[in-house]
Amino acid sequence: MTKEKIIEVISKNIIENLDDLENETIDPKKSMKDYGANSLDMIEVVSCSMRELNIKVPRAELADIEDIEQLADKFMEHAEA
């Protein structure tokens, strides 16, 4: 699985789970908060993306993630494991 693919899936789920982002291009250097996500929106985006990518990351490991790229990196770790 490539990091680009992971970012693509996360971006798609951000657009689906947040309002008014239909025509937006998601910048992986940004946080979901920059796109208006509240904490539960973020949980939903993460769990939808994990289901789609067939990855399971324990909650505790997700606490310090600051932007979309870091989330993708975290997913990569678990995809390869």
Binding site: N17, D19, N38, L40, D41, E44, P58, R59, A63
Partner: protein, 249 residues
């Protein structure tokens, strides 16, 4: 009254109860439950409001059970205090409008199910999240959720534990009265309460009494089946583990 609740009755005889436990984000701590029940006591003892608007924080309407309570339950200590809140709302003499600006999860969502009119926010999320933690739904969810969401959406919410965004629920076509932008939730609630306040309060109470009969019965039914399911599902050895990982800080 405890600091975690704000109660006042306005010049139109509309009661406003704001669940305002900022520090704990409106979870069912013992203090929270005590504060809620004592606010309801005060309302009943000193006022005869036309209606009650029940609101929460801007971010969280009510987050439901706290971890310690669930761990107690998984250790076989049966605690029914949160059920008192469902009962209290359903047995109230006046109509209740749940004005949910923020998220409502688990038992927090049940507070809305026990109300008469429900307003949700487009931006916030609403979930019957019990099964995410390994145990079956409680507080009346299994018989009351259908009324607000419809049978099949209720099934989906209970089985998946998904936290649905207000905008998603709006598309699904539930029985939620209004799903509006967060900033308009209280305005809408006030407008509805004002319309009720123009009616004869004695007839309002009579109507409430008759309409709540069905829900009182549903809550009794729920209690029977939910208590039994809780005895079983809280006793599964994996449930405690799931609760712990769910609340990982």
């Amino acid at each position: 009254m405890l600091k975690n609740m704000e109660l006042h009755v306005d010049e139109n005889n509309i009661a406003h109860l704001k669940m305002n436990d900022v520090a704990n984000m409106n979870i069912f701590s013992n203090d929270f439950i005590r504060g809620f029940l004592s606010a309801m006591d005060e309302l009943e003892a000193n006022y005869k409001p036309h209606a009650l608007i029940l609101s929460g924080l801007d971010s969280v309407f009510c987050a439901g059970a706290e971890k310690d309570t669930l761990i107690d339950l998984s250790n076989g200590k049966i605690d029914v205090k949160d059920l008192l809140m469902s009962e209290r709302l359903i047995n109230s003499e006046y109509p209740i409008i749940a004005a949910m600006e923020g998220h409502a999860m688990g038992g927090g969502l049940v507070l809305a199910l026990c109300s008469d009119i429900v307003i949700a926010a487009k931006e916030s999320r609403y979930g019957a999240v019990f099964m995410n933690m390994g145990f079956t739904p409680g507080m009346g969810t299994t018989t009351l959720l259908q009324g607000l969401m419809g049978d099949f959406v209720a099934n989906e919410m209970m089985f998946t534990g998904k936290r649905f965004k207000g905008t998603e629920l709006a598309k699904k076509g539930t029985n939620i009265n209004y799903i509006v932008p967060k900033k308009d939730v209280l305005t809408k609630a006030n407008d509805l309460a004002l319309q009720i306040s123009e009616k004869n309060v004695k007839s309002v109470y009579l109507l409430k009494y008759s309409l709540s009969a069905k829900k009182k019965k549903l809550l009794i039914d729920a209690r029977l089946q939910e208590d039994m399911m809780h005895k079983l599902s809280f006793a599964y050895p994996e449930t405690k583990e799931t609760i712990n990982s769910f609340y990982a800080d």
